[in-house]
């Protein structure tokens, strides 16, 4: 199965990426997955250009396709100004309509203090609910202090367990684009509404 990790961390190295990698490793330890990481930092200019031109650069197009074709997704962002980062949101604004429908998703976020942790529940979870993704119950937040705390590892394993269970139970439907023959399109209009 294909696991795709989207990380919106900005620094190099980034704690958001570190958290995302630990989640991905924990999923990989339970399930046979191939993991692909999409670093949004490297695509920041391409994302802005797509907003202006309406089409993705080859690198961004490939990243969007990877997300759309994934069997499971880990989406990790730093919390900025009480919510996901603008870069994170901009990327998901470009993901195809319906592309996340039914897709198992694990949400993760990082921040300076634990006071921002509920942004996961109040900002990220509704956004992915809107996109019709199936989000696992445990979302993982890591504040600076958590990196020295064994409890973080427990939360990572619980969330990763939930994601791999969900991926095994709910294979993502890979839909073929269907063409409605023209005769049917015309006939549908001729029927009274």
């Amino acid at each position: 199965m294909k696991l795709v990790v989207v990380s919106a961390g900005l620094t190099q190295p980034s704690s958001t990426r570190l958290l995302a990698d630990r989640l991905a490793a924990s999923v990989a330890a339970r399930t046979d997955v191939s993991t692909r990481v999409v670093e949004l930092r490297e695509l920041a200019v391409d994302i802005a250009n797509h907003m202006v031109t309406g089409f993705p650069s080859p690198a961004l197009g490939e990243a969007l396709a990877a997300v759309e074709e994934a069997d499971g997704l880990i989406a990790a962002t730093p919390i900025f100004t009480a919510s996901y980062s603008g870069l994170f949101k901009s990327f998901f604004d470009l993901v195809g309509f319906d592309a996340l429908t039914g897709k198992p998703v694990l949400l993760a976020a990082t921040g300076g203090t634990a006071r921002h942790s509920l942004a996961l529940e109040h900002a990220l979870r509704p956004m992915f609910a809107y996109l019709h993704a199936v989000v696992v119950p445990t979302a993982v937040y890591a504040a600076s202090a958590d990196w020295a705390d064994g409890e973080l590892a427990g939360r990572i394993d619980r969330a990763a367990g939930e994601l791999s269970d969900l991926m095994l139970r709910t294979p993502v439907p890979h839909k073929e684009e269907e063409l409605v023959p023209f005769g049917e399109q015309l006939a549908a209009l001729r029927k009274k509404p």
Binding site: V52, T53, F55, P58, P181, G183, A188
Partner: protein
């Protein structure tokens, strides 16, 4: 193969001088550009249709009728005629009238229009865009082919015993292209009727349109209009030329950087790499344009966008002179590469001949 230009008709400030043309100047400039197109040996001039500023061409057949009176060979077309918000009865009448005045030098390109607010101004709803395009075109198609029409649909007052006048010239309706940038339904519609499909791919990578065009070709054959290679394909293009390619880049860059559609986004270099935009020497434009058939197969019509982003009229006319110099080369090179059996570009004369063949067969 036909070569021509299409104009959006935007009123845009020249970023290098700060000069903004008046509506009158822009409208007159579009006419001058169309006359120049005929003078330099191009085949087609197509105007956009818009109902909101900063665009001037709200009344295409008025403009095309005026150009028709001042030209002899040029085919007058649109890019696009809004099939969603125009009354199909009025399209049938306006373009049949134009066809008579222009002695058949008329075709048109249907488009849905992507400006949401325009729909309610004309009593429609953008969420019904595809059904409107399908139903309205079905009626237009019938109005041009049946002298007396009884009709009832979802979006328009019913018609009883209605005759659209004047009847099409020589009993042959204008050729129709369907333009779409992402909807397979429209490729399917074009294929169903055996009409043309125009892919204005100037703002997108080639890969984006390959799927739509191959769908159109395959379905054209499915509906019994010929082989996939015999389908009618038109493509957009966008070029800026100077004898010396670096001069072209330097001169065009401020227009590119401030262009309404893609300005303040990617660099000129990235955009020319990722889209059909070619800025350089005439030879570079020839080489690039010839690659289009490698992506999309042999095709019938190539339209270039030349007058936009605030380029002054004088510059546009110079560009058309250069285009006039390379088009004979493009004609020769495309002809040399064309596979046997590919359809001729549609003209009124060809349509009349083929209608005659069907009657005598």
């Amino acid at each position: 193969m036909q070569f021509g230009i299409f104009s959006v008709g935007d009123v845009t400030t020249d970023p290098t001088t700060g000069v903004t043309p008046s509506e009158r100047e822009r409208i007159k400039a579009m006419v001058t550009i169309a006359l120049k197109a005929e003078e330099v040996g191009l085949d087609v001039f197509a105007t956009g249709e818009h109902h909101n500023p900063p665009f001037v061409p709200s009344s295409p057949t008025t403009m095309l009728g005026y150009i028709a009176a001042r030209t002899e060979r040029l085919i007058l077309s649109t890019a696009t005629t809004l099939i969603t918000t125009n009354d199909p009865v009025k399209i049938a009448e306006d373009f049949a009238m134009l066809q008579h005045l222009a002695d058949g030098r008329v075709d048109l390109m249907m488009g849905r229009g992507n400006t949401g607010p325009v729909y309610p101004w004309f009593g429609q709803d953008i969420r019904q865009g595809i059904p409107l395009a399908i139903e309205n075109y079905a009626l237009l198609h019938e109005l041009w082919r049946n002298d007396v029409v009884d009709w009832e649909g979802r979006f328009r007052t019913p018609l009883q015993g209605f005759t659209s006048t004047p009847r099409p010239l020589d009993g042959v309706p204008p050729f129709v292209w369907h333009g779409s940038i992402r909807s397979p339904e429209i490729a399917e519609q074009a294929a169903y009727y055996g009409d043309g499909f125009f892919a204005n791919h100037i703002f997108w990578p080639a890969s984006h349109f390959q799927r739509l065009i191959s769908l159109y070709r395959e379905r054209f054959a499915h509906y019994g209009h010929g082989t996939p290679e015999q389908a009618y394909v038109g493509l957009g293009g966008q070029v800026f030329m100077r004898k010396n390619s670096q001069d072209a880049v330097n001169e065009f860059r401020p227009y590119f950087d401030n262009a309404p559609v893609y300005g303040h986004g990617p660099s000129l270099e990235d955009f020319t790499e990722q889209t059909p935009l070619t800025v350089g020497s005439p030879q570079q434009v020839i080489d690039r344009t010839l690659t289009f058939r490698e992506h999309f197969g042999d095709y019938q019509r190539q339209l270039f966008l030349m007058d936009h982003a605030g380029l002054p009229l004088k510059t546009v006319l110079e560009q058309l002179d250069l285009l006039g110099e390379i088009v004979p080369v493009l004609r020769r090179e495309f002809a040399a590469r064309r596979a046997p059996g590919v359809a001729e570009a549609p003209t009124h004369e060809l349509l009349v001949a083929s209608a005659h063949e069907k009657v005598t067969a």
